[in-house]
């Protein structure tokens, strides 16, 4: 009987292109249930409407999509499972949709759909997904002329949020454009091939960089980077500290807006984000150098 049960639990069964054991299905079902319960526990904090219900549903689809992304790049079933499991109970995702009702997951979903297609070699669909995500994100933004940040601990937490807000609103966008153009210029000149790995690194880097310098960033501006950091960590497990720290920063930003206070000063979180940005940027640099060297050898 024992052997039968053990066999039943661990035996791999094939369903179409997927192979599952009972344990896998059990974890998937239980963690999905936990995700649902977690959301139900906090859902009454804000009004629940179809928009919010839709966002909560998309949370799960996004978790699945990210698991696919991880599986595609690592061919590691357990990591893919873990990605889905963690994202289903990811605090910022739950807080964003179920608790706070911000529903940012709609635009984040399209950004990841874009990444998914891009990584699969379907460049145009990838670009379209990212473009839709960007447009949706921009449509949600409200430009403040009083404060340079609306809750996200970025550059302006360090240098001051209020002075010259109306001018820095424009200057920061120009500086960001300059930085992005410089990156594009280097990539074009060095003939860098956008590999799957480099695409993921770049995706995370931009998800960190843009909210760090863009004006009027709300507390949930780091949601894309939160999720991308987890996928990044699953691809390179040594980078486990990236999602860990980013999640702490991100959730503290939520807490600062929702509760009106944080236990640690916000500028500290800005410094942590700067360190993460630098760390991910250094990874891109190394990848580019390797890619260029390979290009020379070819």
């Amino acid at each position: 009987m024992d052997d039968f049960l053990r066999d039943f639990v661990f035996k791999q069964r094939k369903f179409g292109r997927f192979t599952f054991s009972f344990l896998d299905v059990l974890l998937a079902a239980c963690i999905t249930g936990t995700g649902v319960m977690l959301r139900l526990a906090v859902v009454e904090y804000t009004v629940t409407n179809t928009h919010k219900l839709g966002a909560m549903f998309i949370d799960f689809i996004l978790a699945y999509l990210c698991a696919e992304l991880v599986y595609d790049s690592t061919r590691h079933r357990n990591r893919a499972f873990l990605t889905y499991s963690i994202l289903v109970i990811y605090p910022t995702m739950i807080a964003n949709s179920a608790l706070w009702g911000q529903n940012s997951v709609y635009y984040v979903f399209f950004l990841f759909v874009g990444l998914y297609f891009w990584e699969r070699g379907r460049k145009w669909r990838g670009l379209l997904g990212i473009a839709v995500g960007v447009v949706m994100a921009l449509a949600r933004m409200e430009l403040s002329t009083k404060s340079l940040t609306l809750g996200w601990p970025n550059f302006y937490e360090i240098i001051g949020k209020e002075k010259f807000a109306d001018l820095y609103n424009q200057v920061s966008v120009l500086c960001l454009t300059g930085i992005l153009l410089t990156m594009i210029y280097i990539f074009v000149k060095k003939n860098v091939t956008l590999t799957r790995e480099l695409s993921l690194r770049l995706f995370l880097f931009l998800a960190l960089l843009i909210p760090y310098f863009a004006p009027s960033m709300p507390a949930w501006a780091g949601l894309t980077a939160d999720i991308a950091a987890l996928v990044y960590c699953m691809r390179w497990p040594k980078k486990f500290y990236v999602p860990m720290l980013h999640l702490i920063v991100s959730y503290s930003a939520y807490a600062n807006i929702i509760n009106g206070e944080t236990k640690l000063p916000m500028p500290l979180y800005s410094v942590i984000l700067l360190i993460l940005l630098t760390d991910v940027g250094a990874g891109i640099y190394q990848e580019v150098v390797t890619s260029v060297r390979k290009g020379y050898k070819r």
Binding site: V171, L274, Y285
Partner: protein, 401 residues
Amino acid sequence: MNKFLKKYELDRADVLYLAALTLIGLAIRVILRVVTSEDWKVYWDPWISDLRQMGFAYLATDRYDYAPSFVYILWVISKLPINPMTAYKAIHIVIDFVAAAVMGKIVMETTGSKIKSFCTYGFMLLVPTLWAESALWAQCDIIFMTFLLFCFYYLIQERPNMALFFYGLAFAFKLQSLFIFPFLVILWVNKKIKLQHFLWIPGLYFLSIIPAWIAGRPLMDLINIYMAQGAQDVWSLSIKWPNIYQIIGNQYFLLEYAEAGTWLILGILMCVMFAMAQKRYRITSEFMIQMGLFFAILTPYFLPHMHERYGCVADILAVIYAMMNIKRFYIPLVHILMSFNSYMAYLSHLENQEPSIYYGVWAFVELGLLVIVGLDMWRYMTNPENQTQVVKAGVVTEERE
């Protein structure tokens, strides 16, 4: 078009990038030009008004405490039929672009990489301390910094006469050019500069004060103008610059530490120069920039009464240094952030309040950068591959190429 591209060995991507970054740099400055800073209201505007009324005779008065060379620029502005603040900022904005171009040239000379050179030009136009100084604050440090950059450029080209000519020009505009003076002494020790080249410094300064002297201001007054400048703003040992006084306390022993701090930095510089003079090593372009950066960080770190802008020389040298040594990319990143934080503390009228990250914390960060650059220099000097001669008891005992 193709001929032009071929002549300058450019491709379309280069031209597009340079054009786009030039436009972005210009747009940033055009947006910020509308700000009227305290310095403009309290100093430049009244000075220009006086120059308008009195003409050249204004130079005979003691109403200005900046180098006369700068006041001549204000005199020219007072003659222009346009808004003086627009004219003032426009001049400094143009110099921003010249400085960015010289930076690009220096990086081209030292690294041989066109991509790095163009990126330096583009990056310099985005550096917040640069656009904040000229377009927002209406400060004038970019003038002497540009001359210092020319000085580095000609030193790298092994044209010491031109280099010291530009250093002399920098000194004729701002006393802060002296921050990196010890590095010229080390170059002299290593036979890269001759003693007569140093004559440009007093020579150009003297030439620059002649018009003001002719106008009627006493010669001794003009010679001592930097001394008089140093005697102002003594209400704090550090005026928002994160240095040693932000760690030990900048509001106590104001008189005592002001004098002691000056002697202390002189002593430190003597020790550093003595240590550096004990060995003979190859003076490469990278080492020159390294030395410049080291002294640009070290001197304001111990000198009392340092203003929030006095990290500007280190800001730009750090960018060149990082372009030469990409592993040190974080030095400009951190230094510019620190500098800009100090700028914003002044521009936000924080007065005696601390910024969100305390000056004391930044002072430790600056110390860390100083140690990193210092160690890089030390490793270079002690690396046998870089040594050409060894000096023992003042005598050159061994020489090798």
